[in-house]
Amino acid sequence: MNNVTLALDGAWKVLVTSLLLGAGLPIIFALGVRARAFAAGGDAEVDGGRPRPVGNVLALVCFVLVLLGIALGITIVVASGFGKAVSLQHVYPTIVSK
C-alpha cells in the first residue's frame, strides 16, 4: 500500500502548485483582460463606460506577471532536460543540479 501513500503525498503537492500556476496565472491574465476593457471603455464593456487609461497600467502589470510565470514554466522544462532543476527554496527561482 506504500504506493498509495506516496501517490497521495505527491498528489496534493501537484494540486497545490498547479492551482497556483495553472489556475492563478490564467486568473491574473483575466484580470489583465478586464483591466484593458476598463481602460478602453465604450463597446469593450457590456455597459459601455468611458475610457479610463489607468486600466492599461494594471493590465501591463498583470501581463508581465503572466509572462514571468510562463518563463518559469519553460525554464523548468528546459532545465529538467539538462539534468537541472529549478529550486524555489529562496522564493525567487534558482537553477540547481538535480
Binding site: 496565472l25 514554466g73 539534468g83
Partner: protein, 404 residues
C-alpha cells in the same frame, strides 16, 4: 546479416512507427482547444505543435534508457539488459520489445479510429507488459516496485491515471470559474481577442512539455534494443541518429494530426470558449510540468482530458457531454489490458514461428491491421477541413457504433 540484426532493424522501424502514432494521437492534447475556439487555424495549430514537439525532443538530454523498468523486468537499474535475454544476439529481448511495440501501435490506431483520446504511454506499457508476461511469466512484470518510491504498474501507471485527470479537472474548473467572474461585464468580442493569445501561449507550453516527455520513451526503447543486439554499449547516452529520428518521427506524427481525436477533445466534450481553452491548457501545462518536476509519471492525455472536462464544469451553464467522457474513461481502463493482449498474442506468434519468420510475420500483421483501420477511417474522414463541424450527438454516436 544475422537473424538478430534483421530483428533489430524491425524493432527500430516499428519503434519509430510507434513514436509517430504517439505524435498524432496526442496532437489534440495541446491543440484541440485552440482549434475548437478558432484561436489558431487547424493547420497552423498542428504545425506549431509539431515544431514545439521537435524542439522539445531535442531539449531533453536526460537518458530515458530505463523507461521499460517502470513496468517490466528486462533490464537492470542502470539500463543494461538482463544477461539471460541477450544470448543469441539479443533475440529474446528484441522479440519482447517488438511484440510490445506492436501492441501499443495497434491500440493507438484503433482508439484513433474511434476518435478516443487514450494514453500512448499506457498503450506502450500495456504492450510491453503483455509481451513480457507471455515471454517471462508473471515475474516478468513489476507490479508494485519496492515501496521506496512510486514504481511498478501500480505506482507509475494506475495511480497517476486515477489522480492526474481529477487534479487537472479541479484546477481547470476553478480557473474557469474565477475567470468568468473576473471578466463578467466585458464584451465577448473583447475577451475572445484577449484570450486568444493566452490560449496559444498555454497550448504551446503543453506541446513543448509533450516533446520533452514522450519522444524520450521511444529513444530509450530503441537504445535498449541496440544494447541488447550488441550495437551500442553506453548506458549513459543515446546515439545521435536515434535522437534525431525519434524527434522527427514524433514531430511528423504531430503534424499529420490525429484529427479524429482532436475533434472529440475540442468539440465532443464541451463547447469550448477562449477563456475555457486558456484555463484548460494552463491547467494541463501546470500539472504536467509540476509532476515531471517532482518525478511522477503521468499521461498527457489523461491530464488534457481532465482539464477540458474541468473547464466545462467550471463555466456556469456549460453543457458537458458526460457520456463521451464515460467512453473515454472506459477506453483508459481497457488500454493497458487491450494493448497487453495484443502484445502477448504477437509474442506467441513471433515465438512459435521463431527465427526470421516470427518477427517478419508480426510486422506484416501490424501493417495489415493498420492499413485495415486506416481504410475504415476513410469511410468517415475527419481532417483539418471538418474538424470543427457542429457536434451532432446522434450522427456521431451512430458513426462510432458503425465503425466499431
Amino acid at each position: 546479416m544475422t537473424t538478430a540484426t534483421v530483428l533489430l532493424a524491425l524493432v527500430v522501424v516499428v519503434a519509430l512507427a510507434f513514436d509517430f502514432t504517439n505524435g498524432f494521437h496526442d496532437t489534440g492534447n495541446a491543440m484541440a482547444t485552440s482549434i475548437a475556439t478558432g484561436a489558431l487555424q487547424p493547420k497552423v495549430a498542428v504545425t506549431l505543435a509539431a515544431v514545439l514537439n521537435l524542439v522539445g525532443a531535442f531539449l531533453s538530454v536526460e537518458v530515458a534508457l530505463t523507461v521499460t523498468n517502470a513496468v517490466i523486468n528486462i533490464q537492470n537499474s542502470k539500463g543494461a539488459p538482463n544477461p539471460e535475454l541477450v544470448a543469441d544476439g539479443g533475440y529474446a529481448l528484441l522479440l519482447i520489445i517488438l511484440a510490445g511495440l506492436v501492441g501499443g501501435i495497434v491500440w493507438n490506431v484503433l482508439t484513433w479510429l474511434l476518435g478516443l483520446p487514450s494514453s500512448s504511454s499506457h498503450a506502450l506499457f500495456g504492450g510491453l507488459i503483455g509481451s513480457a508476461i507471455a515471454a517471462l511469466g508473471m515475474s516478468g512484470v513489476k507490479w508494485t516496485g519496492d515501496g521506496s518510491k512510486l514504481d511498478g504498474v501500480l505506482g507509475k501507471v494506475v495511480l497517476p491515471a486515477v489522480a492526474s485527470p481529477v487534479i487537472a479537472g479541479l484546477v481547470a474548473a476553478l480557473g474557469t470559474w474565477f475567470i468568468f467572474r473576473v471578466i463578467a461585464g466585458v464584451a465577448e468580442r473583447f475577451t475572445d481577442q484577449g484570450f486568444r493569445w493566452g490560449q496559444i501561449g498555454s497550448a504551446s507550453l503543453v506541446s513543448l512539455a509533450h516533446g520533452t516527455n514522450d519522444a524520450q520513451k521511444t529513444m530509450g526503447v530503441i537504445t535498449l534494443a541496440l544494447i541488447a543486439a550488441g550495437q551500442w554499449t553506453d548506458t549513459t547516452s543515446v546515439p545521435l541518429w536515434v535522437k534525431v529520428s525519434c524527434a522527427f518521427a514524433i514531430a511528423l506524427g504531430t503534424y499529420v494530426g490525429g484529427w479524429r481525436v482532436i475533434r472529440t477533445l475540442g468539440k465532443g466534450l464541451v463547447e469550448i470558449s477562449p477563456p475555457q481553452g486558456m484555463a484548460a491548457e494552463s491547467a494541463s501545462a501546470a500539472v504536467i510540468l509540476t509532476s515531471s518536476h517532482l518525478g511522477f509519471a503521468l499521461s498527457t492525455t489523461h491530464v488534457a482530458t481532465g482539464s477540458i472536462l474541468g473547464s466545462g464544469v467550471g463555466k456556469p451553464g456549460a453543457h458537458v457531454r458526460w457520456h463521451i467522457a464515460g467512453r473515454m474513461v472506459t477506453a483508459w481502463v481497457i488500454t493497458l489490458p487491450a494493448a497487453g493482449l495484443v502484445g502477448a498474442v504477437m509474442w506467441y506468434i513471433g515465438h512459435l514461428l521463431g527465427g526470421l519468420a516470427g518477427p517478419v510475420v508480426v510486422v506484416l500483421i501490424l501493417m495489415a491491421l493498420s492499413t485495415f483501420m486506416w481504410v475504415r477511417s476513410r469511410r468517415q474522414p475527419i481532417n483539418a477541413g471538418n474538424v470543427n463541424d457542429e457536434w451532432q450527438p446522434t450522427v456521431q454516436a451512430a458513426e462510432m457504433e458503425r465503425v466499431s
